[in-house]
């Protein structure tokens, strides 16, 4: 075998000398640049949307630092170690979800948090990583495309945590976890025929699900379909958000000049609706640039997945990449009024705790996959 073929195959090989520090630190530079860009955008728009609160900026900076730290740590861990932990992480997550369910019953109300000393923590966040890891592990142990009975078992592996999360009730996270799991199935080679045959099942399932939804969840869907029916209630978010985006125009109102966000008309302007605050101040051009950064990150992650050396790495990386894209689409779709309001933050830009840590952990795994490749012949 010609060694030259392998060096071409490992795309970064030619640049290895120049970026040797990045390689030694197991960092993927393009991905890192993309993530740092998002973090910078986050701090810039947060300064404006928080009413120029340096305190908010400081806390977000702290959180970003912590998240990047976790990413860095995970990037050092070789994928085969992660593979071994998958089952245990999944089981640990399930136990915590059940614990939350029990505490929630005692507290007689919606319960998503678990208090571990000073740390408040959402077990459903663990599942965002644990479910794709578990499934990637499961499918890596067998020939692909998977057989039917294995699919059924995989579906159960997804359905149990999703059901528990949906019961909390946290519909948004449940949907995201389900998507993360399903994506592993998809990349594992789930047949198109099978997926198409699931469509009527899905329609019937949503009809059934409608009857199990909480009133406020139904209301969200109804308000999404016609926001003007409830201008001061749930529709208020969507109306004010589209006003903010629309009034931004091509060039935006300028940094710190967004009237919708600085005058409190835009609700959740630092968290779920931060994209509206951003699009108001930086306009269409700014929004286009931000979306391009996201698309670049998704593309880079898919590329990393495609370069993955084993089934586990590839399935997990691709699932994380597309889940990340789904996040972006759900959030921007929600904020622009294309999708219902489901309470999904804009990844890495929204102000907030757990989700940024989970996301960066995911990117740490991706970096690990990218930087732990061995130049082995097939």
């Amino acid at each position: 075998m010609n060694i030259g073929e392998f060096t071409r195959f490992g795309s970064d090989a030619g640049r290895q000398d120049k970026v040797s520090l990045a390689v030694r630190l197991h960092m993927d530079v393009p991905l890192l640049v993309g993530l740092c860009t998002l973090a910078t955008v986050s701090l810039i728009i947060l300064y404006s949307s928080s009413g120029q609160s340096l305190d908010t900026i400081f806390r977000q900076l702290l959180r970003i630092g912590l998240a990047f730290g976790i990413m860095f740590v995970l990037a050092q861990i070789a994928p085969h170690h992660l593979k071994r932990w998958s089952v245990w992480l999944y089981l640990f997550g399930l136990v915590l979800l059940v614990a939350v369910e029990i505490i929630g019953d005692i507290g007689k109300g919606a319960q998503r948090w678990l208090e571990l000393g000073p740390i408040r923590f959402q077990p459903s966040e663990i599942m965002k990583l644990a479910v794709p890891m578990m499934l990637a592990w499961y499918f890596s142990e067998q020939p692909l495309p998977p057989r039917f009975w294995r699919l059924i078992f995989a579906a159960l592996l997804i359905a149990i945590p999703v059901g528990l999360i949906a019961k909390q009730p946290d519909l948004g996270t449940a949907v995201l976890v389900a998507i993360g799991g399903f994506l592993v199935l998809f990349f594992a080679g789930l047949s198109w025929k099978f997926m198409i045959s699931l469509i009527p099942l899905g329609v019937g399932g949503s009809w059934v699900a409608w009857h199990f939804l909480h009133d406020y969840q139904r209301q969200r869907v109804l308000t999404f379909l016609n926001p003007e029916t409830d201008p001061l209630g749930t529709g208020y978010h969507i109306i004010q958000s589209t006003i903010a985006i629309g009034s931004g125009g091509v060039y935006g109102k300028g940094w710190l000049n967004g009237t919708q966000s600085s005058l409190d008309f835009l609700p959740e302007r630092s968290t779920d609706f931060i994209f509206a605050a951003y699009a108001e101040e930086f306009g269409f051009i700014g929004a286009l640039i931000l979306l391009a950064v996201y698309l670049f990150i998704v593309a880079r992650c898919l590329y990393i997945a495609s370069q993955g050396q084993d089934t586990f790495a590839r399935l997990l990386a691709a699932s994380l990449a597309v889940t990340f894209m789904v996040y972006v689409i759900i959030n921007t779709g929600m904020v622009t009024g294309l999708l219902p309001v489901v309470g999904v933050p804009l990844p890495l830009v929204s102000y907030g705790g757990t989700s940024i840590v989970t996301l960066m952990a995911g990117f740490g795994i991706l970096m690990s996959i990218q930087t732990h490749r061995k130049l082995l012949p097939t």
Partner: protein
């Protein structure tokens, strides 16, 4: 073996995976494209629409109420103005401990429980950043004390908004009226509600109510940037309000004062006007009240005192007091007799102290028990012979009397520019059938012949009719406001006097006969008002009268001293001067004053002297 082969089939796995990854990439591009196209729609296609919505969100118009127009008398004396009064306002969000602040404030200024109760009530309905008034009308001492300790009260402000103030107080209370806080009914009745945004007060009575539309002015506004809670962030643009118009009255505060003082401690009304223009010079109703009490809401105690007072200070006797005119009606019947060519007008009528209808024993007595002897029209007016007019009324008949008085305007409002004017009562056979469902009796005509019975007039009407008579039938609508002044340009717009059609009198010389007779009332040796003729610098025509408050029985003698004060007759006097070219006509009514010649006529003399002469000599 087969299992192992499939496990190792990396090529196929990679092929599937790469196909799926490419598919995912395409889906990602499509979905991002969907979001981008939505952004194109929102930020480019519908940009103007959303810009409008965003502006509507943030920009609010804050009304700036106009300054109310001033009310001035004919010499420029201020009757109504806008005066800063000190108030204490509190902004709740700037006060750390409201209870403590209120307690400490009570040591500095007078804070009653009612003030706190009202404050708390309003506090509940307002937002934390909106200021709420705690005290109105602070005394100078309180202002001084608070000013010293101001730094101890963050969030407590001393403010001085413009408040309506009536410097003449009681003197012009029945004319100018007063403003008060807009009530629900008035709010609902506003023609242009938006013009009253920010306005708290509205004219309730008098000129203030009558001319509300011009006094108020037009609201201005500030375009203010507000946040989602409605708090003002900054002012972007201001449109100044258009202040209300200043009203110049024909009224003279000086004459008003003279008339008020001349009434002494008697209640009554004095109305004087210029017969050529209808401009009202004096309109006194005594007692008056302090209109300033009403501006920011009157105390329950003050209000009770006004309402329960036997003197009825809130009652405007000049325009709402309806009294029988008594003998002051006689010159009008005299003119009717001349106009109808009645034999009494040119001949002599015997007076033996009483009159009886044919076939009736009832005796209608003359005020002079022994009678006046043979009297002609001139003497009948000069000496106020009752029998002459009993007889005249009987021969003229109620309907002819009523028609003739109707020419002057008896029974209808004069049209004076004051709200709720009364029109008196002009009786006729038709009126009695309609109103009382009874037939007319001849005796009622006789009594109306000397101005008693059903016939009722207001002092304003009587002043107006006297002016018509003096001006040879020229009928002017009486009015108080003579010009409007634009406060911005000081441009003055005169209000043209409103002239009605002249009296339908066929022989204008008839006026002269009546006017001459009325000058004899004042200057004649036997005139009933001869007591006021001393050193008169001008010719004055007049007529005395008494309106019965209480009907004395047949053959019973009315003794003033024996009758309770409140049941004594009302004294009337109507007059004009100079007789040959009348410049002023007056009607004086002194409630329970007794005789017109002694109680009412001197008031007219004082007024005329003040208006027509300079230190006793005729004015130019």
């Amino acid at each position: 073996m087969a299992l192992r082969i499939t496990l190792k089939d990396h090529f196929r796995e990679t092929e599937i995976f790469l196909a799926r990854a490419v598919f995912a990439g395409i889906v990602a591009i499509v979905l991002f494209g969907a979001v981008v196209s939505r952004l194109v729609y929102l930020q480019m296609v519908k940009h103007d629409h959303y810009t409008t919505l965003s502006q509507a969100n943030r920009i609010h118009l804050i009304p700036v109420p106009p300054n109310r127009g001033l009310i001035l008398d004919r010499e420029g004396v201020v009757l109504a103005q806008n005066f800063p009064t000190f108030q204490i306002h509190i902004t709740p969000e700037r006060v750390t401990n409201l209870k403590d602040t209120l307690e400490r404030l009570a040591n500095v200024i007078d804070v009653q429980d009612v003030d706190i109760a009202r404050f708390r009530k309003q506090l509940k309905r307002s937002r934390a950043y909106q200021t709420v008034p705690l005290r109105f009308r602070l005394s100078d001492e309180e202002v001084a004390r608070f000013a010293l300790d101001r730094h101890l009260f963050p969030g407590v402000e001393l403010v001085a908004p413009l408040t309506r103030h009536y410097p003449q107080g009681e003197l012009t209370s029945h004319i100018v009226g007063y403003v008060g806080r807009i009530d629900d009914q008035e709010q609902a009745a506003l023609v242009d509600e938006s013009n009253y945004e920010g306005t708290t007060h509205i004219g309730k009575t008098g000129i203030e109510k009558q001319y509300e539309d011009v006094l108020h002015g037009f609201v201005g506004n500030q375009e203010a940037e507000t946040n989602a809670q409605g708090r003002m962030i900054r002012v972007l643009k201001s449109n100044a309000p258009t202040p209300g118009v200043h009203l110049h009255l024909s009224l003279s505060a000086n004459l008003q004062k003279i008339a008020m003082d001349a009434l002494g401690d008697r209640n009554g009304a004095v109305v004087a006007l210029d017969p050529k223009t209808g401009g009202v010079l004096t309109l006194v109703s005594k007692p008056g009240f302090d209109p300033n009490l009403f501006v920011n809401g009157i105390d329950a105690d003050d209000y009770k005192a006004l309402v329960t007072s036997p003197d009825q200070p809130l009652y405007n006797r000049a325009v709402n007091g309806q009294y029988p005119p008594g003998s002051t009606i006689k010159p009008f019947y005299g003119l009717a007799a001349l106009e109808y060519n009645m034999p009494e007008a040119t001949g002599q009528t015997p007076c033996r102290g009483a009159f009886s209808l044919p076939g009736d024993t009832h005796r209608y007595r003359d005020w002079k028990k022994e009678g006046h002897g043979m009297v002609d029209l001139d003497r009948a007016i000069t000496e106020s012979c009752d029998v002459f007019f009993y007889d005249l009324a009987n021969s003229m008949g109620i309907d002819r009397m009523s028609t003739f008085l109707g020419y002057f305007g008896f029974g209808t409002r004069t049209g004076l520019d004051i709200p709720n004017e009364f029109g008196g009562l002009l009786p006729s056979q038709a009126w009695k059938r309609a109103a009382r469902k009874e037939k007319w009796y001849a005796g009622e005509t006789v009594v109306i012949g000397i101005g008693q019975g059903y016939l009722l007039v207001t002092p304003t009407q009587m002043a107006s009719f006297t002016g018509v008579l003096a001006a040879h039938g020229q009928r002017m609508v009486p009015r108080l406001v003579q010009s409007l002044e634009n406060p911005n340009t000081s441009e003055v717009q005169q209000i043209e006097p409103h002239r009605l059609s002249d009296l339908p009198i066929k022989n204008p010389l008839n006026y002269n006969k009546i006017i001459e007779a009325m000058t004899h009332v004042v200057s004649g040796a036997r005139g009933t008002a001869k007591g006021i003729s001393k050193d008169l610098a001008y010719t004055m025509g007049g007529k005395t009268g008494t309106a019965q408050v209480f009907q004395i029985k047949q053959d019973e003698k009315y003794k003033e001293s024996e009758v309770d004060e409140k049941l004594r007759d009302h004294a009337w006097f109507i007059a004009f001067a100079p007789a040959e070219d009348p410049k002023i006509a007056v009607c004086v009514l002194v409630e329970n004053g007794g005789h017109g010649g002694s109680a009412a006529a001197p008031i007219a003399r004082k007024l005329f002297d003040a208006y027509l002469t300079v230190q006793g000599q005729p004015a130019s």
